[in-house]
Symmetry: C2
Subunit: 137 residues, 2 copies
DNA sequence: ATTAATTTGTACGTATGTATT
DNA sequence: CAATACATACGTACAAATTAA
């Protein structure tokens, strides 16, 4: 499979589709290092700009983590289960950048907003937290 | 307040901070149109590239919506409350691009993943859904 | 209704900085 | 020290869609 610059779908989305498929098929496993941006530039004859846009898409989906030494497939990690009692509400949204930094959440990871009946809210990283209805310990 | 290209913090993040502050202070209200990219280019003497990166940050935080005719402050909209019975789990993550399209979710909006005790899962847009523990209809 | 202007989307290039190897 | 790799930031150009004239 290759990338068609003349296709309707933008080059960077085509590349994102391609890499996403490789991840979902297990061709690229959690924790595994992705090829360097320059590798994709060479492999498909596209600009680094397009490669970086594709990476940004995948980061936004929480599928990869990009660090200075390269990108790797994100490992979901073990989630902690939080018991929530009746009346408690659970929502989710993306953190703002200051919140993200404060909570130590990776890019592309939402936060769970858990509001007790009393009105107090907790913000928890959604990649490490599952809310479970039920009182029993 | 202005933008300092020689500061440690990247120009695009400085601009994102600035616009975010204007939104949070109510200077830019929900539904209101943001200035065009070219306006920010002119106002701060920075590249369009930097402006677009700033917009991408704010989109990723779910603060703004960008369409072809411009960006506007996102209106949270009314959320639907979903009752979840004991044993039901609630998580959240970002949708992949195909999922986002299928569910009709805006960029920067996570999805709630609600798993019944039976194992069946529902995907719901987090900007329009609140999960609430409790059985009563 | 056609045209022109506006605005964002995509995509290329180049350059420099910074951290890691 | 040098090579690698990503981050930022400038530039240009054209396409596509919407809005205004």
């Amino acid at each position: 499979m290759a990338i068609d610059p003349s296709a309707d779908r933008p080059v960077y989305k085509q590349l994102a589709d391609l890499i996403r498929a490789r991840i979902e098929e297990g061709d690229l496993r959690p924790g595994q290092r992705l090829p360097a941006e320059s590798d994709y530039v060479a492999e498909f004859g596209i600009s680094r700009d397009s490669v970086r846009r594709a990476m940004a898409v995948l980061r936004g989906e929480g599928l990869i983590i990009t660090e200075l030494r390269g990108s790797r497939v994100r490992d979901a990690g073990e989630a902690v289960t939080v018991q929530i009692s009746p009346g408690t509400q659970v929502g989710a949204r993306m953190p703002t950048e200051p919140e993200r930094k404060q909570l130590g959440v990776a890019e592309g990871v939402p936060i769970l907003v858990i509001t007790d009946p009393g009105g107090e809210t907790r913000l928890l990283p959604a990649d490490r937290t599952i809310a479970r209805a039920g009182d029993e310990a």
